[in-house]
């Protein structure tokens, strides 16, 4: 249950940013490890990529691309708000970050399948 003082769009944007940031920090080392296989063990990489073609894995990849995109756009929103004089419409931009992230992650999946 979200406590009453937290039930508003910018708090939800904040928690989304924190959770996506943490998830990325956990995911990226694994990502770089897999990329490094291209140099150290190309056969293993091919096996992995074959495995990664499964629909379920694609769905998970959608989630990862979404997390990166939502963290990216949300981060840009925060930096713009804090560094430029830009005071109104924060909720709209927070919602737009989520929408843009869906778009990016969605087009990734459509290209991948």
């Amino acid at each position: 249950m979200i406590r009453p003082h937290r039930k508003h769009p910018l708090w939800l944007a904040y928690i989304l940013h924190r959770l996506s940031g943490l998830a990325l920090a956990i995911f990226l080392p694994a990502h770089f490890y897999v990329l490094s296989l291209a140099l150290t063990a190309p056969k293993d990489l091919d096996g992995f990529l074959h495995w990664a073609d499964k629909p379920l894995v694609k769905a998970v990849e959608f989630g990862l691309v979404f997390l990166l995109a939502v963290h990216f756009f949300g981060g840009l929103r925060l930096m713009a708000f804090e560094l430029l004089t830009w005071t109104k419409d924060q909720k709209t931009w927070a919602a737009a970050s989520v929408a843009f992230a869906f778009m990016v992650a969605g087009s990734f999946v459509l290209r991948a399948i």
Binding site: H5, L10, Y14, F81, Q90
Partner: protein, 241 residues
């Protein structure tokens, strides 16, 4: 939400810094009743030992803030009808501050942080000097005016999860006041203020959750003031001040 029943079911937090629990009271439901009216009624008719704080009853003094159904509010200007849920009201002391007794919190940390943020006016002239004219339509004055009407109620301070997570964080009200002074052409130590708010616990701790602006009863936007401080402190950092 309408409430047709004759009595309200009110839970009031009782206790002190060592701990406590909610106590339930049945309070007559009257027209145009505020949360403060309800608390006063309990103290006058049922339990004279109930501790709480208020002074002006008209939203000027900032002393009556409490948690009402989980949200920080100025109780003298919060109508029962606006917040009641299933005929129930829960009243508790403000979050993020030590409790003295029942609904009265210790405001010391809150005001100590105003001073730490240099949220105090630094005069440049004395009463013997002529009054300096301030142009009300100058850019700086417009920024200061937008944030000036703070009544020190600590509602924003109670709403902020960054305050909760970091005891050193100066909090929205103190930083909001610092921002009005940074834009006050009569203040003599505006660079010192920027210095004070960029220390540990300063404006850069804010995660822009915006609960402060959502709950401020005077519809101020500390989050906007804090963004202003972030900007000005970064500018003065790159200028080497």
């Amino acid at each position: 939400m309408s409430s047709d029943t004759k009595t309200l079911d009110v839970s009031v937090w009782r206790g002190d810094s060592a701990g406590g629990k909610f106590e339930r009271f049945q309070v007559p439901n009257q027209q145009s009743q505020t949360i403060l009216d309800v608390v006063v009624w309990i103290q006058q008719k049922i339990d004279p030992t109930l501790a709480y704080r208020y002074a002006c009853r008209v939203g000027m003094c900032g002393s009556c803030a409490m948690m009402v159904n989980g949200e920080p509010r100025w109780t003298c200007r919060t109508h029962v009808l606006k917040v009641i849920r299933d005929n129930r009201i829960e009243v508790a002391p403000l979050r993020n501050l030590p409790v003295i007794k029942d609904l009265a919190t210790d405001m010391d940390p809150f005001f100590t942080k105003w001073v730490k943020a240099e949220g105090v006016f630094h005069p440049t002239s004395s009463r013997d000097d002529d009054i300096v004219k301030v142009n009300p339509s100058s850019d700086d004055r417009i920024l200061a005016d937008a944030a000036i009407e703070c009544i020190n109620c600590a509602v924003c301070y109670a709403s902020c999860d960054t305050v909760q997570g970091n005891p050193e964080y100066l909090g929205p009200a103190a930083l909001n006041r610092a921002w009005t002074l940074v834009n006050d052409e009569k203040d003599g130590k505006r660079a010192d203020i920027l210095d004070a708010v960029s220390q540990r616990g300063g404006c850069h701790n804010c995660h822009s959750q915006g609960s402060c602006a959502k709950f401020c009863p005077n519809e101020l936007s500390p989050i906007t003031s804090i963004a202003g401080l972030k900007r000005e402190t970064i500018k003065s950092f790159f200028k080497g001040r």
